[in-house]
């Protein structure tokens, strides 16, 4: 299991491909990695939140003001640039925050702290439904929004079962296209420190945690470890099956239905409800679409053959 600095180095070294703008690299030929969060250990100190902010500050939006006028005027701008310090919810400047639940479960009192961010779904609707090719899943399981081309239409947020991505207006490609009529900025969320991973470093939040709450590793190993941990604490798992499977696995001594009722939810504060696979229907329909050409060819061939036969009969 990878819980030490530089542990990932061997895995990513030499497999990076220089593709992304600004010298960033798309990591290829990698295993799908997942993170495990042992909620029984988290003390809610916020060191991870701080580390995330510091480490990823260079990726945060630097919006131009004043913003372009929006048409129709009911289109609202989203501006967090004057509230960059907000750290009790997700914002374009805060990709991780701590939710706290005070609960009683089986006669025992608990304070459960839950680091919340994008779960990096295995079949992410945010990426699949992005109409502009800006959101994508990498082989190593990271789901990323390409801030170079994102137009800020916020569709990823609408289709995400947890409504994770957050918009900042006044930044990005839309400014160069039709700023008043299409687009509205760029969407931001946890990118699981893809650039650090490429260098063989751990995500900042994992490295900064004094309690060793998070572990990162190949998904299979992480799932096995999560089940073992859950067994040891007679606990519960969230994220393994949610939305068809994510790469963020929470293990808690208290059921997630109970936690969900005890946490603050709302804009920028995701729930902990059960989530069915948003892409289930598409996964089935997709097979039909991919085999439709074959079916069409076969039907066409049958038609041609029967035509030829008819012709022969006439000739006889």
């Amino acid at each position: 299991m990878l819980s030490r600095r530089k542990f990932l180095q061997g895995m990513v070294a030499g497999s990076a491909l220089s593709l992304l703008p600004k010298g960033a690299k798309a990591v290829r030929d990698e295993e799908e990695l997942a993170t495990l969060l042992d909620l029984s250990k988290c003390i809610g100190c916020g060191a991870c939140v701080e580390a995330c902010k510091e480490t990823n500050a260079h990726k945060f939006p630097k919006p131009q003001k004043p913003f372009p006028r929006m048409y129709p005027s009911r289109v609202k701008v989203a501006d967090w640039s004057d509230k960059q310090d907000v750290d009790d919810r997700l914002t374009p400047y805060n990709w991780l925050f701590i939710q706290t639940a005070y609960v009683t479960w089986q006669g025992k009192e608990y304070e459960i702290n839950i680091p919340r961010r994008c779960l990096h779904c295995q079949n992410p609707p945010c990426a699949n439904l992005c109409p502009w090719g800006a959101c994508l899943k990498q082989k190593n399981g990271i789901v990323r929004i390409n801030s170079e081309i994102c137009l800020g239409g916020s569709k990823c947020k609408s289709v995400c079962p947890w409504h994770i991505p957050e918009r900042q207006t006044g930044v990005g490609l839309y400014l160069k296209l039709l700023p008043s009529y299409a687009g509205n900025g760029v969407m931001y969320k946890c990118d699981r420190c893809y650039d650090r991973l490429e260098k063989g470093l751990l995500p900042a939040c994992i490295e900064a945690c004094p309690e060793g709450v998070q572990t990162i590793g190949p998904r299979k190993e992480i799932i096995a470890k999560a089940h073992q941990l859950a067994k040891e604490m007679s606990g519960y798992i969230y994220g393994e099956k949610e939305n068809g499977g994510t790469n963020t696995i929470y293990v808690s001594p208290v059921p997630f239905e109970v936690l969900n009722k005890a946490i603050d939810t709302g804009p920028g504060r995701p729930h902990l409800k059960p989530v069915p696979n948003s892409m289930a229907l598409e996964e089935n329909l997709g097979w039909a679409v991919l085999t439709a050409p074959l079916a069409g060819l076969a039907a066409g061939a049958l038609k041609v053959v029967s035509k030829l036969k008819k012709g022969e009969e006439k000739n006889e």
Binding site: L20, N128, N146, E282, G286, A292
Partner: protein
């Protein structure tokens, strides 16, 4: 092509274009979804699924057509516009299928492929539409008479 077939293909193309446009966050912004009975136009999942379903019908039809068309030696009768249309449809179908492939959890494309597939899949229907209108206006057929 029979009249019925023309209608069928016309309606199918329109439905694909519409559900395709519905993939962009514009129907809500531009009030279409506010019209009573049109709220569904802003339902991303619904339109995505409809687009898949329509694509299934289109692909079946197009590939059926490819065989019957080839076998009846109509290919040599295609005009320049006809060939252009064939290539544009081909590009739309190809990028669309790549996109369907990408939406399986096991399939991963690099970020540039993801981007260009989407942009091409968005751009070609525009070109097709323009040539369709030009052909109508100039009275050019896709088949030699």
């Amino acid at each position: 092509m029979s009249k019925k077939e023309k209608w069928f293909l016309g309606l199918l193309s329109f439905a694909l274009l519409f559900t395709g446009f519905a993939q962009m966050p514009i129907f809500k912004r531009y009030y279409l979804a506010d019209i009573p009975g049109f709220a569904w136009t802003a339902d991303y999942y619904l339109n995505h699924r409809l687009h898949y379903l329509l694509a299934f019908i289109l692909l079946f039809y197009l590939f059926y057509k490819v065989v019957t068309f080839f076998s009846s030696f109509q290919l040599k009768n295609l005009t320049f516009l006809g060939w252009l249309k064939v290539f544009l449809w081909g590009g739309i179908v190809f990028t669309g299928m790549l996109r369907v492939l990408k939406n399986f959890p096991q399939v991963v494309f690099d970020y540039k492929t993801v981007m260009y597939v989407d942009w091409i899949h968005l751009g070609l229907p525009f070109l097709l539409f323009i040539f369709f209108i030009l052909g109508k206006v100039a009275g050019i057929s896709y088949l030699r008479k």
